[in-house]
């Protein structure tokens, strides 16, 4: 991060976080730590089979177990008709199965809930789960999304008549935002001066793997039902509980206390949350559910999982003339809250930072007998960025061009902003030259290319590859009208309230509910500057629908870009009100009142009053102007007009041991343009964490299913999150072309690192071994996969295994369970 002199304003200061004191001393309040008196605990009986009909469920032994209050199926709870909500029908004819709270006669993925046990303790409930005897009639599972999409395929939901939930198309010719892709490709095929590059990439299935397992407590003992939940979306959860169960919204209070990470994985409305509500109503006692880690891996929604078929037409001089994108996206067994829309969010990012005359995007969402997929950090945009940034490298190879130079030839130049893209978005600001130049300096691009040449020449067993990703993303979800045009089931605004207390302290409520992002700190900095009050005098309140009643929560890098602006607007209203009272008390015309640094002064005089004095005067209400209320408190709802478009250049140096396939990330440099920075310390943390997740997709992680549809790596033993020892320190900097779509000039940073880093790493791995004949390695690029690719390139056969990361540590380069000695056949 660039270090400069500490600014005099709060905005831009590397403030340490307000949140930390409680978290570093154990004074935290995560949902599982909340246990009202009399709480009963539930545990869910889960299917061990991916696809089956249920012949019978024998609960008798479980019901007799010590401490068990009851064992319930959907029928026992009268919940057979209940379906969990999907808020994003991407097409009018989208096929959407009922997603039950507990299976109704059949199960559609391994881990699906079949019955629920209520007991005195969580341990007693789990013990009793083992006593429930479910008789299944196994059916052949549908596991391959591409095969599932074909006519005649076995159907996950026979009543829907197809495994294709919806096919969504964007065509720049039809939209009037660009040319016809088919014509561009046809023209390229007929032209000796053009080439057509066709590739298939796979976005493997990932597991968000937030550190806090999901948990929920529902307390029915007051007039309102109080729900504590480990969720990113307390407001959406409240509304959707009403939609799902019919409990009036006014009778629900949802609290997201401390939440231990989400990354999109806690954006859903869960069957278990609805079960807790139903059981709390039925039993009249507080009900708690906390999942085990394995339940979390099995049943919390997964991310990514796409097959990408890409066709790019390019002139031999390097100019892109058209890009045709066809995706299969695996929805899993059901549609999640926003799952169908996740690939669609990517539709607008396949052109990335490049000028393209024509683009078509076609995505088929497909059902399989796997855990459902939904948002995971970046949600659609990492997939798109991977596709385009990998393609840029492929085109560079085909044309024998330097990959940075080819990108620069095609990207939007800094003096061409604002720029209307081929998909109809308007990029407000950006400077790809600036970010790239700085990144290349920090990285020593020229020096590393020389080293690469030298290693190739000398036949060094450890080869060097350079990976590049020049990404952009659309952040600040989202302009409500745009969401409406995409048939999304909500708006994209955010709400805030700023209250001046009698003693001069400030309370701010925000509808953006934090789960690790540092809102309390960053928002305090903004309010401190706006109102001219002390940073420590501002209290940010969030995550409770009774405290911050209006909001649309936290996802899509929206908290600052949308929620922060709502706070700014509410603060402006406070100042406007205070100005009237100040004018009244100072016996001056309102037009003569100036406000700066927390002081209202009469222009040209030394008369003035502090905002705290005005707040006290408003509280006392003994003397205030006629025609106004004695209050400074103000609300604002901000609905953005446009997205924001952070961008950046990410470069990495990958070392590949050609004898063993071992991949080593030697150096990672990124320069991100996220507009103005509120808190550089928090920004740096967001970038680091984002990078780690994106790199993990490229190198380590994959949810592996076996042929019977069982998730075989459903623990942290074998779903290999990177540890500290698996990652290097990153060099991160920011540059800024402030956004012009919001008054803070901010763009959003939560997802940048994840979106950018995955293609950089894979490009780097391939660059290290491409001269040895390797053209493609699927993610994660484990030692085994790299080694096999090298063997195949040498003309040797390498034994294939369907899942090569399902033994302990395998994703980190351990042995292949089917080929323990790594023999070449």
């Amino acid at each position: 991060m660039t270090t400069t002199a500490e600014p005099t304003t709060e905005i831009g200061r590397a403030r340490v976080r307000k949140e930390d004191q409680r978290l570093i001393t154990g004074r935290s309040r995560y949902t599982d730590s909340i246990t009202p008196s009399g709480t009963v605990h539930i545990a869910v009986v889960r299917s061990t089979i991916a696809r089956a009909t249920i012949n019978s469920i024998d609960k008798s032994e479980a019901e007799k177990a010590p401490g068990v209050f009851g064992v319930y199926t959907a029928a026992d709870l009268g919940a057979e008709e209940v379906g969990l909500p999907c808020a994003w029908p991407i097409t009018p004819d989208q096929k959407a199965p009922q997603r039950p709270v507990l299976a109704n006669g059949r199960v559609n993925f391994s881990g699906e809930g079949v019955a629920v046990v209520v007991a005195r303790s969580a341990a007693a409930a789990r013990d009793a789960v083992e006593l429930v005897d479910v008789d299944y009639e196994p059916l052949d599972p549908v596991l391959d999304m591409e095969a599932a999409a074909q006519d005649g395929a076995e159907l996950v939901h026979p009543d829907l008549g197809s495994n294709v939930s919806a096919t969504w198309v964007f065509d720049s010719a039809a939209a009037g935002t660009g040319g016809d892709v088919s014509e561009a490709i046809k023209a390229a095929e007929a032209d000796d001066d053009q080439i057509v590059v066709r590739r298939r990439f796979r976005q493997q299935r990932l597991i968000p793997a937030f550190m806090e397992p999901r948990s929920c407590v529902v307390d029915p003992t007051g007039e309102q039902l109080t729900i504590w939940a480990a969720t990113q979306v307390p407001h959406i959860l409240r509304t959707m509980t009403t939609v799902t169960l019919g409990v009036p919204e006014s009778k629900l209070r949802v609290i997201a206390p401390d939440v231990g990470g989400g990354f999109g994985g806690k954006i859903g409305v869960l069957p278990e949350e609805m079960l807790c509500v139903l059981l709390a109503q039925k039993l009249g006692k507080p009900v708690k559910w906390t999942e085990t880690r394995s339940e979390c891996m099995l049943t919390a929604h997964h991310g990514r999982d796409q097959i990408q078929d890409l066709v790019m037409a390019v002139r031999k001089d390097g100019t892109i003339t058209g890009f045709d994108v066809h995706l299969y996206a695996d929805m899993g067994a059901y549609l999640g809250l926003v799952g169908p829309g996740v690939p669609i969010l990517g539709a607008f990012m396949f052109n990335a930072i490049y000028k393209m005359p024509a683009l078509r995007f076609t995505c088929s969402n497909v059902f399989t007998n796997k855990t459902l997929t939904d948002a995971y950090r970046g949600a659609g945009r990492p997939e798109a960025t991977f596709a385009i940034e990998r393609m840029m490298d492929e085109v560079a190879v085909e044309l024998g061009r330097d990959p940075v130079e080819l990108r620069e030839q095609n990207w939007i130049k800094h003096d061409e902003f604002p720029y209307d893209t081929v998909v109809g978005l308007t990029y407000d600001t950006g400077n790809y030259e600036q970010a790239t130049q700085r990144a290349m300096e920090l990285f020593d691009y020229a020096g590393l290319r020389r080293e690469q040449e030298e290693r190739r020449r000398s036949g060094d067993p450890v080869q060097l590859g350079i990976g590049i990703s020049t990404f952009t993303e659309m952040c600040g979800l989202a302009p409500s009208r745009v969401l409406g045009s995409l048939d999304y089931g909500a708006g994209g605004w955010e709400a805030a309230n700023v209250r001046m207390l009698a003693t001069g302290k400030v309370e701010v409520t925000t509808g953006a509910s934090a789960h690790g992002q540092g809102h309390e700190t960053a928002f305090s900095q903004i309010v401190a500057d706006k109102l001219g009050v002390g940073f420590d005098d501002v209290e940010i309140l969030h995550g409770d629908t009774q405290v911050a009643p209006k909001g649309l929560d936290t996802y899509g890098s929206r908290s600052l870009v949308v929620g922060g602006i709502a706070i700014v607007n509410a603060a402006e209203k406070v100042i406007e009100k205070a100005k009237k009272i100040a004018a009244h008390l100072l016996e001056a015309s309102e037009d003569d009142i100036e406000f700066a640094n927390g002081q209202f002064t009469v222009r040209g005089t030394d008369k003035g009053k502090a905002i705290q004095e005005i707040a006290f005067a408003a509280f006392m209400a003994h003397d205030y102007p006629e025609g106004m209320e004695p209050s400074l408190d103000s609300d604002a709802v901000f609905d953005p007009e446009n997205f924001s478009f952070p961008h950046g250049t990410h470069l990495c140096a990958m070392e590949v041991d050609t004898d063993t396939g071992r991949v080593n990330l030697r150096r990672y440099v990124c320069v991100d343009d996220i507009g103005n920075v509120i808190n550089p310390l928090i920004v740096e943390g967001q970038v680091h964490g984002g990078l780690a997740q994106g790199i993990a997709q490229a190198l380590f992680e994959e949810a592996n299913y076996d042929e019977s549809g069982t998730l075989v790596n459903a623990t942290f033993v074998d779903y290999t999150l990177p540890s500290a020892a698996d990652l290097p320190s990153f060099t991160t900097e920011t540059v800024s072309t402030p956004s012009t779509t919001n008054p803070l000039g901010v763009k959003g940073v939560g997802e940048a690192g994840t979106i950018a880093s995955t293609p950089a790493i894979v490009n780097g791995v391939l660059d290290a071994v491409r001269h040895l004949g390797v053209t493609e390695i699927e993610m994660p690029t484990t030692s085994q996969r790299v080694w096999r690719a090298l063997q195949v390139a040498k003309g040797h056969q390498a034994q294939q295994t369907p899942s090569d990361t399902h033994s302990p540590g395998a994703g980190l380069g351990s042995i292949d369970p089917n080929n323990p000695k790594g023999e070449v056949q």
Binding site: D20, S28, A209, G518, A724, F730
Partner: protein, 172 residues
Amino acid sequence: MTEVRVTVDGVNYADDVEPRMLLAQYLRETLGKTGTLIGCDTSNCGACTVSLNGQSVKSCSVLAVQADGAEVTTIEGLARDGTLHPVQEAFRECHGLQCGYCTPGMIMAAVDLLGDNPDPTEQEVREGIEGNLCRCTGYQNIVRAVQSAAKTMKPGAAQPTEQAAPVAGGGN
């Protein structure tokens, strides 16, 4: 039920526990010490790390009855008389946490690491906290925090008070 007598964060307790009860559950459910968190069921994540007789342990892999007669320090007992332990302070100063869920265990593991190796290199820190997973930070600022705390805790360094000296450090 088996009786267990244990000192946790300076307080003596005697409880009858199920033999199968994990130390992590005992701390959270019986003693209400919810500062110690549980993140997995396979002792991989390290969120539940505490100090047991001066050595860091994952409290999900210790039975409560095994702690009989032992002295346990959790994240809640690390600060003394209102003064943060240098490792806690460093985590805040270096932005070594985001959601905070791995933090109690990460801090307890780091305290033990610095007891064993008061001046670790970056690589030694990375390997030393390998048993504690974090999904938010990418570890860079955690590593920075541990190295920063090492500097503060060096003999002769100005900062910490006597009480805030490391509680863990390679066993008693």
